[in-house]
Subunit: 274 residues, 2 copies
Amino acid sequence: MSVQRDADAAIPNQAPADTPSNTPAGAPADAPRPRGRLLGLGVGPGDPELITVKALRLLKAAPVVAYFVAKGKKGNAFSIIEAHLHDAQIHLPLVYPVTTEALEPPLSYEAIIADFYDSIAHVLAGHLDAGRDVAVICEGDPFFYGSYMYLHDRLAPRFHAEVVPGVCAMLGGAAVLGAPLVYRNQTLSVLSGVLPEAELKRRLADADAAVIMKLGRNFDKVRRVLDELGLARRALYVERATMANQRIVPLADVDPMASPYFSLLVVPGEKWQG
Amino acid sequence: MSVQRDADAAIPNQAPADTPSNTPAGAPADAPRPRGRLLGLGVGPGDPELITVKALRLLKAAPVVAYFVAKGKKGNAFSIIEAHLHDAQIHLPLVYPVTTEALEPPLSYEAIIADFYDSIAHVLAGHLDAGRDVAVICEGDPFFYGSYMYLHDRLAPRFHAEVVPGVCAMLGGAAVLGAPLVYRNQTLSVLSGVLPEAELKRRLADADAAVIMKLGRNFDKVRRVLDELGLARRALYVERATMANQRIVPLADVDPMASPYFSLLVVPGEKWQG
């Protein structure tokens, strides 16, 4: 054991001097080599300038930069940070094995995606064990419907993990729509367009203000519910808010067959005349 | 009329060359002098590094910088951006005339605060009419329970207004708590601790994940509701998340008489084992 420990100690710390690695409090006493940190970096809703100063600093200093991407795509997250990457970094695209949850049996989205996260976590753990910090790039905010969460849940118990919050898509949307979202003591409900129609209706009827995400092929259902509740006049729609190809379209003019995943609806709270 | 127009045109544009002002589409044809832009800048939850690159750029370039502050206080928003201010800028503290909503009749919080926003809007309009951009500094995000919203509602109909979204307090809180907030198609409810106990209970019982803001003297009531719903084991509490004096305290140990306004509770969604 002591021989092994000495051998480990002789391996130089591979983390650059400007990215100190913290050893978590729970690390075993016989692991003297500093391990890398897992960094979940929120990079904002799309406009590359909406990254925070902190995320930018940690991104530039990270020896390994990982980002989720759909098969055959460049990826929005990658586009946001591309200009800041440099050749000395290891770039690690994390390519989703499936892009839709609708699969024919015996295929199961849940099983395939769980295997995918397991295998990514294994790869990242290798870098962390070798003393390299790993920055996982997250569109919007890492803990707000972000794929990073599944890596965090797998790795945070074993490694030092730090999350840098980001500007989430719904606030990027409210900003470009010029729509103050919630006043004073109003309640905000953030809903997924995937929800069943009856549940969407019940929750929207009870909300002071609401944001509906994950529209895509759910758009038609959501618009119908807004119409039925008399909320259509207050609802505002935007595609790819703050991105270069952003589109703001009146609700009635949206083509339900062409609404992209990165679209959202905002129902702002009633203005307070204070 | 034409004499007046010529006289106006002879007044030099007072906006610095590096901060071009946009004339709104609806500006009258006889107002050739470019007017300033109203900029609502989200500067994040407290850590000065959690400002976005865009907000920082616009802040540095703005000839007038306004920020809300309580009487006799320096102000959190000011602390976040203080290091970036320079002497060539006009600094405009907007001092709240009252700090509590509980006033003795005939005083009315609503009336006093409405007068306050009216008079500030008048001052800012003066700068905008003179061609100076005005940056209003907003802790967190401008459209997420921000005082900026009341200025926006008053001034956006008359001036070009642009909002730069920011990292909101609840995402700063989730990040420092290491708490993934919402998975997949979970619903997030953002609630004010000011709500009546029965309404809080009803809404929390129906939420997949929740954030409760504006705790302060409402803390005891909120904790009781969490206890009754069996949510106390999932709830996480933080004061002044991401600020230098941040405190994370187990729910049971919070002193209800000492919970500050800038504290919040997070009830994360149940983990998805994908």
